[in-house]
Symmetry: C2
């Protein structure tokens, strides 16, 4: 039986038995597919598996009873506002609080500069929507945040990676890449960077490099997208001044309450120059009409009634303890791998011993009850199989140690296999695809 | 001074003094602009103005104290789930409740068929994102929902309007349009329709026409987008069976809690065939990672603890009383206009006496302390100036009567002026543009 048209629905160019609308999708939708690692993550969510894969914050430390009482009062006294439509740009009181938050990183913003978004993922989506035509280039670190790469791909951007090292994005490499792209006549729209406690690499752009990066971007006319969900979660000293702190016109700053308070409200923000801000608001209205008043007012009420700065401080201590648990366990159980020691945030970026493939190894790791994210997720070009990302944010220190122990054992077995049968270097390149591994990797 | 490059930022094709990134926007962003009626709506929100413009539900009737207590318990007992990331497709318990809601319109769905979205606006955005390439055709009623037209424009679709009458979309006109478009070789992707208590036209697609519309869409291979926020808010009898009730493969059904409960949570949904649903989830993850757990779990808790069916019934009675207040006042104060009498929903669609222009008249109406939406907002082609939309959902009956009285007086003055100086028929077509009037018009 012919697979085509079997439903009797022609569609603009025909359907299939499995999908009557197969021929009707937009170009951009052809690149949308679930990666096969999603099926593994479904298994990884079982309680017996130690997941070092997700980026979920640890919320048990929040004062839940007092948050519950705050919201009760909020809905009882201001319910008709909480439950109603709000403004497309976001609630003004919350925008004032956001100005206070970013002041901690040296940003002098006005509430008018702030656009509230449905998590900073929506901010990424809106920025790509208003700037990226198919074929435009977005420059990003190598590696880069998987969720941002997914957005850029969905707008049919071409991502060019620039190396980072222990001090973050390398200015000379950025300049060489922009110079080459200019020579090739390619249209570079955005430089996407996670300057603090990078996801997945864990590194922070040094204070010395920050003005250099800005100067290079300015010289090549490239807008900088500074994605900074982890900036306040540093383990030592004060936060570095944000890129946006010294460049109001050349930087779009993206922030979020997801890591410093709670992701369940889906509230993030962009700080943008005036004209760009107007376009972002229009794009957001087209996308969701307005952000949730219920979420925004709940966050404002939390900030007004709780010691949110103290809460961030206690998160820092919690995550530092887990970082220590992880790096100590890595030293003990994975002596032939290498990694950075992050000074904040959620992630350790591990380089495997030569010949191992993080993607090919994942099913065996999950069978051994430990999960991670293969490095390939963080590159637009399918490379990165020699790395994996471990997150220490959610599991307890004891679980982290157990997870790393299991992983060390998997790696040991893998090396024995490689010694016997050779490596996975010739794995089918189609299997390297890690499109859209889903919200677990936020 | 040259306006170009004055900031020293070249941008990909140069910036201006007002916007250094002017040359960097994507094609799709050039069509994004605020309509000048937004400035008027800012004035219309002043308390002395009776706004018959917005689509905000009236929330004072909700049991706010009991909702507040329900959320308090929810956060106190399940806070670490409420405040955490959720699944991209949406919370499973809420999807089960949604299945119960749509069963009231004869839909037999499974929770797996449901994708939870950030209001049904995001559902519209996701549907356009996965189906619409620039230049593709979307067929919509004349008039059609302004927020949907904005989405289609932002994906560079060409909207073709098909007339409706008192029984909704006219099957013969739909067929003639699809036949012409096929002859012209144009690629029709979607039929967008609001079958119940249409926004803005107030009419309902009759039971007799429903199978005809589905048959025509099937024959031409066009996917039907059934947008149904008002279906449960009918004033007499049971809801008609949804289009989706008799066609699982050919209809994407969009629903929302915004009108039957509360828009402040921003929770809507799509029910889609399996393969389309998978693409929608991937597109949503790229756009927002996941819908808000806080919102979704709050709605589930409300549905489990409150008499939500009784609440919808009391909303119906409230809105029927307001509909009656409006149509009675129209008969008294606007004898030379004509309108339908909607049997549910929020809107009356008014045809002005010959020679009057709803758009040109709006500033004078706002000066007279009454606001409405000009008909031009609901057409992709700039027509519709002979109509206006009045909404009766939010103001009290007394305010509705006062607003219609003021509007009748504005229309009287306008007709006197027209008699003296001629009509506004030659208004600048640029001023007809009503792109994106914002969330007030939901």
């Amino acid at each position: 039986m012919d697979d085509k048209l079997s439903t009797g629905r022609p569609g603009p160019t025909g359907g299939t038995r499995l999908d009557p609308w197969f021929g009707a999708y937009a170009q951009r939708a052809h690149g949308m597919r679930a990666s096969e690692i999603r099926a593994l993550f479904a298994v990884a969510n079982r309680p017996e598996v130690v997941s070092l894969a997700g980026g979920m914050p640890y919320l048990d430390g929040l004062p839940l009873d007092s948050i519950a009482d705050t919201i009760q009062r909020l809905v009882a006294t201001r319910g008709t506002t909480v439950l109603q439509y709000g403004s497309g740009q976001g609630d003004e009181t919350l925008r004032e609080h956001i100005v206070d938050v970013v002041a901690m990183e040296g940003i002098d913003a006005h509430p008018d500069d702030v656009v509230v978004t449905t998590g900073s993922q929506q901010a990424l989506d809106l920025v790509a929507r208003i700037f990226v035509d198919p074929g435009d280039v977005v420059v990003a670190e190598a590696p880069s945040y998987v969720g941002a790469l997914g957005v850029f791909r969905s707008y049919q951007a071409e991502v060019e990676h620039v190396p980072l090292d222990a001090d973050g994005l390398v200015p000379e490499a950025l300049e060489a890449t922009l110079e080459r792209l200019a020579r090739e006549g390619r249209r570079v729209k955005l430089l996407y960077t996670v300057p603090n406690f990078h996801n997945p690499a864990g590194v922070t752009l040094s204070a010395e490099r920050r003005p250099k990066i800005l100067e290079i971007a300015r010289r090549y006319g490239v807008l900088v997208v500074e994605d900074n969900p982890y900036g306040l979660l540093g383990f030592s000293g004060d936060p570095l001044p944000a890129l946006r702190a010294s460049d109001e016109e050349g930087v779009l700053y993206l922030g979020s309450f997801s890591k410093t308070f709670a992701p369940g409200y889906r509230v993030g923000w962009v700080i943008a120059p005036h004209a760009v801000r107007e376009k972002l608001v229009l794009a957001s209205e087209s996308s969701i009409l307005c952000p949730s008043n219920a979420s925004q007012l709940a966050i404002s009420a939390y900030m007004e009634s709780a010691d949110w700065r103290g809460q961030i401080k206690s998160f820092r201590e919690l995550y530092r303890e887990r970082r220590d648990a992880m790096t100590t366990a890595l030293t003990e159980h994975m002596p032939d791998s290498s990694w950075n020691t992050p000074d904040g945030g959620f992630y350790v970026w591990v380089k495997l011993p030569p010949g191992l493939d993080a993607r090919a190894m994942l099913p065996r790791a999950v069978t051994s009850r430990v999960a991670y994210v293969p490095g390939t997720a963080f590159f637009a070009d399918g490379t990165g199989a020699d790395h994996l990302r471990l997150s220490y944010c959610f599991p307890t220190p004891e679980r982290i140690r157990e997870g790393v122990r299991r992983l060390g054992s998997v790696i040991g077995d893998e090396r024995d296999l490689a010694d016997l049968f050779g490596t996975d270097a010739d794995v089918d390149p189609d299997l390297r695809d890690v499109d859209n591994p889903g919200p677990d990797l936020a």
